[in-house]
Amino acid sequence: MVDIADKTALLGDLIQNSALIKPEIMLIIWASFCLLVPKDTRRWVSIFALTGLAISGFSLYWTYGYQGSAFGGMLQLDAFGAFFKILFLTNAAVCIFMSRKYMDIEEEQSGEYYCLILFATVGMMFMAAAVDLITIFISLELMAICEFILVGYLRGNRRSNEAAMKFFLLGAFSTGLLLYGMSLLYGLSGSTSLEVIAKAMEAGAAKNPLMLVAMITLIAGLGFKIAAVPFHMWCPDAYEGAPTSITAFISVGPKAAAFAVLFRIFLSGLGPVATDPTYLRLLSVLAVLTMTWANLAALTQTNIKRLLAYSTISHAGYLLLGLIAGKDNGGVTAVAIYLFLYAFMNLGAFTIIVMVRRKGLVGDTIDDLKGLVTKNPGAAIMMTVFVASLAGLPPTAGFLAKYAIFSALIEAYFKTHYTYLVILAVIGVINSVVAFYYYWLIVRAMFLIEPTDDVKLTFSPGVVTALTVTFAVTLGILLYPEPLLNFARAASNSFLR
């Protein structure tokens, strides 16, 4: 029987731990209140949701600097988690900014929409801090279920329904695979804690033949979440069918969250397995397939959302290179920088697509951007900067991101002398060159082809804010990259090994 002193200690411990997850708690409260907003004031619910994100951001600021575990080792509070949490909050905020007018046009403005965005963000935030297989799984499901609903949010649209169904069924099977891998890890180590699993791996569990199956199922399960080839087939369909604001949301946040989990599991939880050349070569094959297949498939796309879906897949390939480079060679820092900058350039490009959407016009084909420079030169220039950044051209943010990844690979080569690392870097650069072509198609449509209609872009304070923020970061980061580099380095250093 537990006596009163024990109960009081338990309660005190709970309150103390809850204070450490204040940003997530605030967001959960705000998300729940979003559902209670009266029907006639639904247009203002976006402002309410943004307030929630701002309060969560402030709470994050107060808890920043604390390094340690919470809830009995279920969560790890460190700069790595904080870095990703800021990324998720920014992603959600930009998506809400672009959603306000867009959801009016789609006639689907409701509290549930913003509630789901906030809950998905909570899931991502927990994913970034999770260091226990149970916490990882629950937070991943929280994010995924919200995503499934959001993709099929346009109930009257066949494409949206179809995309949600495909996404849901494939997602369910991939989760099953991931869970299978996790159960094998538990079987091999006797614990769900990544720290204990790492110790068991060092003690010899890594040599067990079952580890091979565990690794493959984990790679396949998480490969689905980051849309790595050959687990990517859901991505173009889901992106095309989902509301454009949600396409933007799922193209950044969930991918970054999956990478955070991938880093936690591979670099913290699997100990010596993470540096095993066999698995690194397997990941290399996956990265090369992802980059090459996605870039080749993107060349033939006419729908801009599908094109950006393949672009996202190829970026997942570049990000895998950072994982292969490893923590000691700046791999984590490079991936953190890449994900942060990718968020802004990608969200910016999607904001322009959201602005093309009008009543009676989907506006998601490259042809819809024809002659944009004559209709709105500012938007055309901004879109050019975003796609140049996605292609990795200087002086945009994308150049810095790609430079960080490739230099981490080369650094890893000088330390290990594995030739395949240099080959990977060369394949990465070649792929970047291939990608120029399909990004050029967008620029060509905007600048060199005459417009076929006089449809103007949809402006609203929300999209202007989203565009200003994303454009400023995409173009301005090379002028003053120090804060981002320092934060990314701190995230990498705080990473529990």
Partner: protein, 86 residues
């Protein structure tokens, strides 16, 4: 050419028409029930081939690794095709 919005509520109409057509309903159900078996079968076949390749050519663990991964990928592709068709 600008793409026009798919107006109307096609999925609702589709669901109603499908419900009235019991034959196609049962066929769709049968197609969906096969998904689980197909997915696992793909992985099992991949594992089997990989295991034997490693035993015959002494390539362990690469054969198992690559073929299981291919099996999982094939499972996903089959799943995707069945859903798209159904």
């Amino acid at each position: 050419m600008a793409t026009r919005v798919n107006e109307g509520h096609a999925p609702v109409c589709d669901t109603i028409s499908r419900m009235t057509d019991k034959k196609s309903d049962i066929k769709a159900l049968a197609d969906l029930m096969v998904i689980g078996i197909m997915f696992v079968a793909g992985i099992a076949i991949g594992l089997g081939i990989g295991h034997f390749v490693d035993r015959w050519f002494g390539t362990g663990p690469w054969g198992t690794l690559v073929f299981i991964l291919m099996g999982i990928a094939a499972g996903f592709i089959n799943l995707f095709r069945t859903i798209s068709k159904t």
